[in-house]
């Protein structure tokens, strides 16, 4: 067991940090630290150009196997890549759903044709993806999907509605779980379809959040179509493939997310020092606790990633979503408490609603403990799957 990096690792670190310093400049300079969670609407076109810029340099798919067009980087390099990217203030990635979810799913479950067709567009930064899982009646109960797809000739015809779909309004493709067997229910009878977003049968409507901004959308499928071959796995295997996609959410990119958290914590600490709250003994305890908690988050992620070859999901992986989401939500509240009465104020005229980054953090982190499995669902999963306690009764 070893946490230190080798000289060869450090050489790779110099390579990526050097590249970031050389390239996050000129027209891209203003993207620094922008476009993260809660800020995904910022500088979108510029960030799309940045994604292509990264693709040209081969920085998309660092952890993908070389056979899929990736770098096949070992774990230590992936950790370094995501950490250095965030340390340099690398902007929120617009292609992360393709790189982190759609791509790895196609690599693991897709046909050779699908790999040839879809992977290059992700690696170049040209094709953006969104995830069509949740529905109005399929949130925590994800298997209750009602969106239907029928095979008509050589096309799947899709009717239904998805919700909480990040980036749907700008995406080229969506991976959709749809019910393809009439009369089926629950996990059975679902299929995993790749659907082009730019078509008449799809309507995207942004959801205005409590932040006043819109990161999420509703997506309406009204006779939307995709080619018959755009199914990953066999008809009826959609649940298995979808669960595989969820497993990819636990990749090395979580280390980059943590570095972004680190930048937020550093900002809060700087404010506490400047406004004198850093002298308050209770606030000192809370700031120290947050700092310790973030170090533990990194250690926990590295433990989990170091077990990647283990077919059994380790316990540290089961607890990671509940842990980071709760930590981050607490950080948002800590930011407000450090700011005190000023926490409520933003620049501008009364009647406008342009929040500061920390106000966005405070409000947006309320969603952290809800999306991708609520804290309550996470606790069920930990108790049932990691601890072997009896399952909840299901209707």
């Amino acid at each position: 067991m070893k946490l230190s990096f080798s000289a060869e690792d450090e050489a790779f670190r110099a390579e990526i940090s050097g590249w970031m310093a050389d390239h996050l400049t000129g027209p891209f300079a203003r993207l620094k630290n922008r476009g993260g969670p809660g800020d995904e609407h910022a500088f979108f076109e510029e960030r799309r150009a940045w994604e292509r810029h990264m693709g040209k340099a081969g920085w998309i798919g660092v952890g993908w196997p070389t056979s899929a067009g990736g770098r096949g980087a070992p774990l230590s390099h992936q950790v370094i890549f995501y950490e250095e990217y965030a340390r340099a203030g690398g902007p929120g990635r617009v292609g992360h759903i393709g790189e982190g979810l759609a791509g790895p799913t196609i690599v693991a479950f897709g046909s050779e044709d699908q790999k040839r067709r879809f992977l290059p567009g992700i690696l170049s930064g040209d094709d953006l993806w969104c995830q069509g899982y949740s529905e109005p009646n399929a949130g925590s109960d994800l298997a209750n999907v009602r969106t239907r797809a029928r095979l008509v000739g050589d096309r799947w015809v899709i009717d239904g509605q998805k919700v909480w779909t990040s980036l749907a309004h700008v995406s080229d493709w969506c991976f959709v779980i749809a019910r393809t067997e009439d009369g089926s229910s629950g996990h059975r009878g679902l299929s995993y379809l790749l659907v082009p977003m730019n078509q008449k049968g799809i309507t995207v409507r942004p959801i205005q959040q409590m932040t006043g901004t819109s990161e999420f959308n509703e997506v309406f499928f009204d006779g939307a179509e995709t080619a018959a071959e755009n199914i990953v796995g066999k008809p009826g295997e959609g649940w298995k493939v979808a669960m595989g996609t969820l497993a990819f959410e636990r990749g090395a990119s979580t280390l980059g997310q943590q570095m972004a958290f680190r930048n937020q914590l550093d900002e809060i600490i700087a404010i506490a020092k400047a406004n004198g709250r850093a002298k308050d003994p209770v606030m000192r305890q809370r700031l120290a606790e947050a700092w310790i908690g973030l170090q533990i988050m990194r250690a926990n992620a590295l433990r989990m990633l170091s077990q990647a070859g283990n077919p059994e999901l380790p316990r540290e992986a089961y607890v990671s979503k509940l842990y980071w989401a709760t930590w981050h939500r607490d950080l948002g509240k800590l930011a407000m408490d450090v700011l005190g009465p000023e926490a409520d104020v933003f620049p501008g005229e009364p009647g406008t609603y342009e929040l500061t980054a920390l106000q966005q953090l405070f409000l947006f982190t309320r969603s952290d403990t809800i999306y991708a499995g609520t804290n309550e669902i996470q606790r069920n999963i930990i108790a049932e799957r990691a601890l072997g306690m009896p399952r909840e009764a299901r209707a």
Binding site: L3, S6, Q285, I292, Q295, I296, A299, L302, E316, L387
Partner: protein, 373 residues
């Protein structure tokens, strides 16, 4: 970078869990905790034969020459078993301090199991001063909460000498030193009060005249070891609770099937796993910084791990009592042994508030000049 145990480390873990599970579980703790000595010397010699006392002693001095990850592995398993023994005081404190000082003396005897030992430095409450007198030293003062202070063969005591922290070795009983074992709620630990009244020591008793830095390092490494103990013990609390609630039927179903119970167990699992990540992280930092590296990274990691795992252990033990219901309150069930141990351990080597305040300082909350710029 590979944050997983090596094959050798897994073997150490397996062997320790097997031996402790067979010979040194809570039933053994109940047997020895009712005695004055507080441990079983014959069983301890078996632990010695397994090489445990020489774990972190250099090979040149008869030890295994292993590091703080391996120490964390053993401490975690001992915490799980709740094995009352001289290990923590002898190895995690005394041998650790002697290696930090690069000392020649005593390590071989410790590794061989010839002596037990303890450290009475910043881990104890109180103060001792040393005064040079005719070719030797005179020690005066009072220390409380010295682990194994009454029963250890060798006491390494820190004393203020000419404004610096010196370390002295006291073997066995000496005139002027009164060692009094304290009766404690947690009967698995044996703290003592050490009263020094004109204790005359020869010059040779001085191990190091300026030991402050090495002792600070050693105490941080000891804090990591205690964090690991907390991890194993907290996990045992979780396991006992899951097992008990699966078997306990109320309203015609196992109480483990109630979400109110499951969610508390999930929170225990979260506390255990994050504490484990914290303890292993800090153990790796302890290995990386060696005996004289930059102490700041270790101070941060050790304080982080100790405060986090200490609270996690208490929370898990407390939840274990709650979820065991009435039987959790009885002497017969083992939960109270862990609950009492968790409370005691939280205060040993600094409580959570102390360590968080230390972190607050180390991460720069007092660097207000920089903030004003």
């Amino acid at each position: 970078m590979n944050f997983a145990f090596t094959e050798d480390q897994l073997l150490i873990q397996d062997a320790a869990r097997g031996w402790l599970g067979e010979f040194a579980g809570p039933a053994h703790a109940r047997k020895v905790m009712a005695t004055k000595e507080g441990y079983d010397p014959a069983l301890w010699q078996q632990a010695v034969a397994l090489g445990w006392t020489g774990l972190i002693v250099p090979e040149t001095q008869g030890g295994l020459g292993l590091g703080f990850v391996e120490l964390a592995i053993l401490m975690e398993e001992m915490g799980r078993a709740l094995y009352p023994s001289p290990f923590e005081a002898t190895v995690a404190l005394a041998a650790n301090a002697l290696t930090a000082l690069g000392a020649e003396r005593y390590l071989e005897a410790i590794a061989a199991g010839d002596i037990t030992a303890t450290l009475a430095a910043g881990n104890a409450i109180g103060e001792v001063t040393a005064t040079p007198v005719d070719g030797g030293y005179r020690l005066d003062g009072l220390l409380r909460h010295v682990p194994d202070g009454a029963r250890a063969d060798l006491v390494l005591v820190a004393a203020t000498l000419d404004g610096r922290t010196a370390l002295f070795a006291i073997e066995g009983e000496v005139a002027g030193l009164t060692r009094t074992g304290l009766a404690t709620m947690d009967q698995t630990r044996r703290p003592a009060e050490l009263r020094f009244e004109g204790v005359a020591l020869p010059a040779a008793a001085l191990i190091a005249a300026d030991a402050g830095r090495a002792l600070a390092l050693a105490l941080d490494r000891a804090a990591v070891a205690l964090a690991a103990h907390a991890v194993g013990a907290a996990e045992k609390c979780l396991e006992m609770t899951v097992d008990y609630t699966k078997g306990r039927v109320q309203f015609g179903r196992p109480v483990a099937s109630f979400q109110a119970v499951k969610h508390q167990c999930a929170d225990m699992a979260l506390a255990v796993e994050t504490s484990r990540s914290a303890a292993y992280w800090a153990a790796c930092v302890a290995d990386d910084c060696g005996h004289n590296g930059d102490g700041t990274a270790l101070a941060l990691a050790a304080s982080g791990a100790k405060s986090w795992a200490g609270r996690a252990y208490f929370d898990c033990a407390a939840t274990a009592i709650q979820l065991h219901g009435g039987v959790g309150f009885t002497w017969e069930y083992d939960v109270h042994l862990y609950f009492k141990n968790a409370r005691a351990l939280e205060a040993v080597l600094g409580d959570g508030a102390h360590h968080r305040e230390r972190v607050a300082h180390l991460i720069g909350l007092d660097d207000l000049a920089e903030a004003a710029q």
